[in-house]
């Protein structure tokens, strides 16, 4: 079986999206964690910012990027004709 150009483009776009979302994941977890002491001086609606992020903010970011990935990948599947039920 030979992959078409379109198939390879689909996979490349999937990889790019995955990389961008993983970068967001990395920043909201590890960069935030690394600078937690500095961020603790910022007050965010009563919480020190780093406490808020670790207790809630980062989780909200994870939810949003996972939701976005599912939606964007569904569109990508349809655009390239690789969605289930299209073969």
């Amino acid at each position: 079986m030979q992959l078409t150009q379109a198939h390879q483009e689909y996979w490349r776009r999937n990889l790019n999206m995955t990389l961008v979302l993983l970068a967001i994941w990395f920043v909201s977890t590890f960069v935030m964690g690394f600078f937690a002491r500095e961020l603790a001086t910022i007050n965010f609606f009563g919480w020190p910012l780093s406490f808020y992020m670790a207790a809630q903010g980062s989780m909200v970011i994870y939810l949003v990027i996972i939701w976005y990935y599912a939606r964007a990948m569904k569109r990508l599947d349809e655009e390239y004709g690789v969605a289930e039920g299209e073969d």
Partner: protein
């Protein structure tokens, strides 16, 4: 295809209807019990009703879902809608540790405890982006299935089986232990009886219906556990802030807690108590330094006191106390060294001022240079632990297996979102609960007269002094914060009483904890039984076995593994919490690299995968065995911990060394050995596209007639 879509939709609507009725019925049950309590139903009966009603409920669902069909038994027929798979994954994921221990851990550790919140949720990003959709497209039954197909042959599959069993068994023992603890505490039966009662509860769910029964009971268990967790937190929030959304408003409570911490640090009475503990630590140190002379002198003094009291015909109580002191005196010099050294540590810990709850990586060391070094070390360990827990989440077979059960790749992607959402509801409430309880204790317990303490303090102190202990150390009749010791489990268990809710809610919390432990144990037991029956027996020993025979063998194995796990749990292994965390490090180092590389790197071959699993697990295990107290004693390691520690990393995060080692091994060994054959490369392409024109590969069909 469209017929299938509409049948899926009908199934979804049917499920929605059932579980709405179920939730409504459960709430009616709660209200009825509350009324009965007001009418005078004794507390112990409420405990029994909750225990037996919920286990009977799960058993009922298990019996209704019985099946002898392979696809139903192993992957619930691959028609679990995204939302319901999310709920099932949520309760599969949240164990007794999440439900009961998490908020308490956050109470005791402040910011640093949030590593568990981050680690146990962020891992789902890796599941969503790197694994779930591709495993669903691959569409077989187990994780070793994928390793076996992708890395050509039984060697990779076999090592996969070993790692899956190692990781899951350690974890399931901890769950069954939790079940025994909850059952015995709320009904008064003995711990061992509680373990086997819980075992019965686990088996009725999974024995008859495999994954299908486990899935539908897990959804039911999720509903109970989330109701049980949220009611007390919301109530406590109303008590202290007047607003029923604790997660949004506890920032202001945290500010008040921080204010109070400063007061308590400077308070002269608090200082007095802390000084007493510092003095006790110094005394213990003097005794350790004076060994062996202090040991013989102490023994002689104790003997002399018994003899003196007897000679003087002192009151019986005094004589008894002196005899007990002599009986409890360390038997040997080595015992004395161990016990007294422990006293130095525990007294020093209690001599420390209150930990600032919102402060990341806090150090109480007065020397600024040393404090800075300690804070750096804490930061390093925090980040390492978060990474291990995240990657471990994305490598635990009982979680990954759940994504085989959705109807399609797109549903699998959506299902990860719903899984994390269901987990999020509990995990973003736990830090709020910890802060609210802390505020309650700081304002309504500390500073009170011993005579005016709230009722829940006395009742829990009686249940188990390890959970809650308040002693008037400086004899001033007033409670100081430094006089309180708390066990981590008390926070969730006592919240209903702290919030002033009826005892029914305490029963509900116990039922929630039980649901969390049972659902996780179900998923794990099934993973182990399937690894043995499907991967080892059917795929490697007897590929011609009939469907009937495979399922029978799987059920027998389920029984054997369950009894074995209950037996281990009843023996109460020393360091159960460490074992759970160890499972994450081991899974992270063993499974993640071969799974992710299997999809994203076509050049990865079987030699690389096998070597990477072996190296990852070995290094992780070696590090734990040489640095963790309990494992060191098991393996008789005598070299000093400091010599074996690398970059100050705690043994709980041992995966931080195993993971990169596994990655490097995978790359180097794969590149030194021949590339995988054409068929394997086509398999990789097959899993990368939800559907591919001209793709003739259908691994699901090869696995034994599973239409989807």
């Amino acid at each position: 295809m469209s017929a299938q879509v509409s049948s899926n939709r009908a199934f979804f609507n049917q499920l929605k209807k059932y579980y709405t009725y179920y939730t409504g019925g459960f709430l009616v049950f709660l209200v009825a019990l509350t009324i009965l309590e007001q009418l005078g139903l004794p507390r112990v009966w409420i405990g029994y009703v909750f225990l037996f009603a919920t286990i009977a409920l799960y058993a009922g669902i298990g019996i209704m879902s019985r099946t002898a069909d392979v696809a139903e038994y192993y992957v619930a027929g691959r028609r679990v809608p995204a939302v319901f798979n999310g709920m099932a994954t949520g309760s599969d994921w949240m164990s007794a540790a999440s439900f009961i221990g998490m908020a308490g851990g956050l109470y005791l550790q402040g910011f640093d405890g949030l590593a568990f919140i981050l680690g146990w949720t962020g891992g789902y990003c890796l599941v969503a982006f790197l694994l779930a959709p591709y495993l669903r497209k691959f569409g077989q039954f187990t994780i070793p299935d994928f390793l076996g197909a992708r890395y050509g042959g039984n060697a990779a599959r076999f090592i996969g089986i070993l790692v899956a069993i190692l990781v899951s068994f350690v974890y399931v023992v901890a769950q069954i232990y939790g079940v025994g603890l909850i059952t015995s505490r709320f009904t008064g039966v003995e711990f061992t009886v509680g373990v086997f009662l819980g075992l019965a509860g686990i088996l009725v769910c999974s024995f008859l219906g495999g994954m299908r029964a486990v899935t539908w009971t897990q959804v039911a268990q999720y509903i109970i556990l989330i109701i049980a967790y949220l009611i007390p937190v919301v109530w406590l929030s109303v008590k202290h802030t007047g607003i029923p959304l604790p997660q949004l408003v506890y920032g202001s409570v945290l500010q008040k807690v921080t204010e109070r911490e400063k007061q308590l640090t400077a308070d002269p009475k608090e200082k007095e108590v802390r000084d007493i503990f510092r003095q006790r630590a110094a005394d213990a140190k003097a005794r350790v330094d004076g060994l062996p002379g202090t040991w013989t002198a102490g023994r002689e003094a104790a003997e002399k006191r018994v003899a003196d009291l007897k000679a003087a015909n002192a009151p019986m109580a005094e004589q008894k106390a002196a005899e007990k002191a002599l009986a409890d005196y360390p038997k040997t010099e080595a015992d004395a060294r161990r016990i007294w050294s422990g006293q130095i540590g525990s007294n020093n810990a209690r001599a420390a001022p209150p930990l600032p709850h919102g402060e990341p990586f806090y150090s109480a060391n007065p020397d600024p240079a040393k404090a800075e070094a300690e804070r750096d070390r804490k930061r390093k360990n925090f980040l390492a632990l978060v990474l291990c827990l995240m990657v471990g989440t994305a490598a635990l077979p009982h979680i990954l297996m759940r994504y085989y059960t959705t109807p399609s790749v797109q549903e699998a992607r959506r299902s990860v979102f719903w899984s994390l959402f269901c987990i999020f509801l509990l995990y973003f409430s736990a830090p709020a609960l910890a802060v609210l309880v802390k505020f309650d204790i700081f304002t309504l317990v500390v500073g009170k007269n011993f005579a005016d303490l709230p009722g829940w303090v006395a009742s829990w102190q009686k249940v188990d002094p390890r959970l809650l202990n308040i002693t008037d150390i400086n004899k001033d009749g007033i409670v100081q914060l430094a006089e309180i010791t708390l066990g981590q489990d008390i926070i969730v268990l006592a919240t209903p009483e702290i919030a002033g809710l009826p005892y029914v809610i305490s029963g509900l919390v116990a039922a929630g904890g039980l649901a969390a432990a049972l659902s996780t144990a179900d998923g794990l037991l099934l993973t182990i039984a399937n690894a043995l029956s499907h991967d080892l027996y059917y795929k490697m020993v007897n590929p011609n076995a009939s469907t009937q025979k495979r399922i029978t063998i799987s059920k027998i194995l389920l029984l054997v593994v369950a009894v074995l796990a209950a037996y281990t749990a009843a023996a109460a292994p020393a360091d159960i919490l460490f074992l759970v965390a160890a499972a994450f490090s081991l899974a992270a180092a063993g499974f993640f690299v071969p799974l992710a590389a299997g999809v994203f790197w076509k050049r990865a071959n079987k030699y690389g995968a096998i070597a990477s699993m072996i190296v990852g697990v070995t290094i992780t295990f070696y590090y734990m065995a040489t640095t963790q107290v309990w494992l060191r004693s098991v393996f008789g390691v005598t070299s000093s911990v400091a010599d074996n520690t690398w970059w100050d990393i705690a043994p709980i995060s041992a995966g931080i060394f195993g993971m990169p080692a596994a990655l490097i091994t995978m790359v180097v060994v794969s590149l030194l050995t021949p590339a995988p054959d054409k068929q394997t490369q086509e398999l990789v392409e097959h899993v990368r596209y939800p559907s591919l024109k001209g793709d003739t590969m259908n691994p699901a069909a090869q696995a034994g007639g599973v239409g989807h």
